[in-house]
């Protein structure tokens, strides 16, 4: 039987690539943030998978790292979405293709 870790790492890689594709190709700012959240989640999956199958799982390093990452990702989503709302209020659009100048 193959190492079960490989399955989890490949799923994390696919999710990361999907999140990256979403963040790079979509026009709406909120979908970019959705892509960023997917990337963070993929990294968390990697952390937990290595914690489970790696040496010394009793030091809980992977689990701690993942929990702090979840907290930081939530904070970053809050601030990012607040920014998107603020930009929408100013420019009346959340379309990134139209927000391509620094002059407001």
């Amino acid at each position: 039987m193959a190492n079960p870790l490989v399955g989890y790492l490949l799923v994390a890689a696919i999710l990361f690539a999907i999140g990256l594709a979403g963040a790079l190709t979509r026009r709406n700012a909120i979908v970019v943030l959705i892509g960023i959240e997917l990337m963070l989640n993929a990294a968390n999956l990697n952390l937990i998978a290595f914690w489970r199958y790696g040496p010394h799982p009793e030091t809980l390093t992977g689990m701690m790292f993942a929990i702090f990452s979840i907290a930081v990702a939530a904070a970053e989503a809050a601030v990012g979405l607040g920014l998107v709302i603020s930009i929408y209020r100013h420019a009346q659009t959340a379309d990134l293709d139209q927000m391509n100048r620094m002059k407001g």
Binding site: I34, G35, A94
Partner: protein, 168 residues
């Protein structure tokens, strides 16, 4: 690699794909919720129960609702039917993402013999997590606490509606 793993993985990847491909933004947000739930199930599969429940509580219970509120407050749920939802340079983004996936998959499959092996199910009781948080990881805990406070205040200030002084 049991049968449940493949089902949950398919659910998660499907949710992620739907979250970045669908036209209707609220459907994207709901697909993202499915992806988060699938990830929580994967954490439970990996014997990390605390992380799985925290994932549901924080991501499904808070971040998904945040995304939905942002979609509604920026009126992005009313998509114009004519134009495409992808930007003009979508091909480049797709190529970059595919390249990143290729590199990651190559790295994983290349190091297949050297990967660490199963050491038996670790027990991560809440007691141990609490001791670790207050012992080894107390500095990150305090920093994350001040980070969350700063993010809370910052998000409120950024999204606050300023009274227009020149309203005539």
């Amino acid at each position: 690699m049991g049968f449940p793993f493949w089902i949950i993985a398919a659910l998660t990847v499907g949710g992620g794909l739907a979250a970045v491909l669908l036209r209707n933004l609220v459907h994207c947000a709901l697909a993202l919720t499915i992806a988060f739930a699938g990830l929580a199930l994967l954490f439970l599969q990996l014997d990390a129960q605390f992380a799985g429940f925290v994932q549901i509580l924080v991501y499904v219970g808070a971040v998904a609702i945040l995304v939905v509120f942002a979609i509604l407050l920026t009126r992005s749920s009313e998509t114009p039917k004519a134009e495409s939802v992808f930007s003009k340079t979508w091909a480049v983004g797709l190529v970059v993402a595919a390249a990143v996936f290729a590199v990651l998959a190559w790295a994983v499959l290349q190091s297949l013999p050297g990967l660490p092996h199963e050491t038996g199910a670790p027990t991560a009781t809440v007691q141990q997590i609490g001791t670790a948080l207050m012992g080894n990881y107390v500095l990150p805990l305090e920093i994350v606490a001040s980070l969350l406070t700063a993010a809370l205040i910052g998000a409120v200030i950024v999204a606050l509606h300023e009274k227009k002084e020149e309203a005539k």
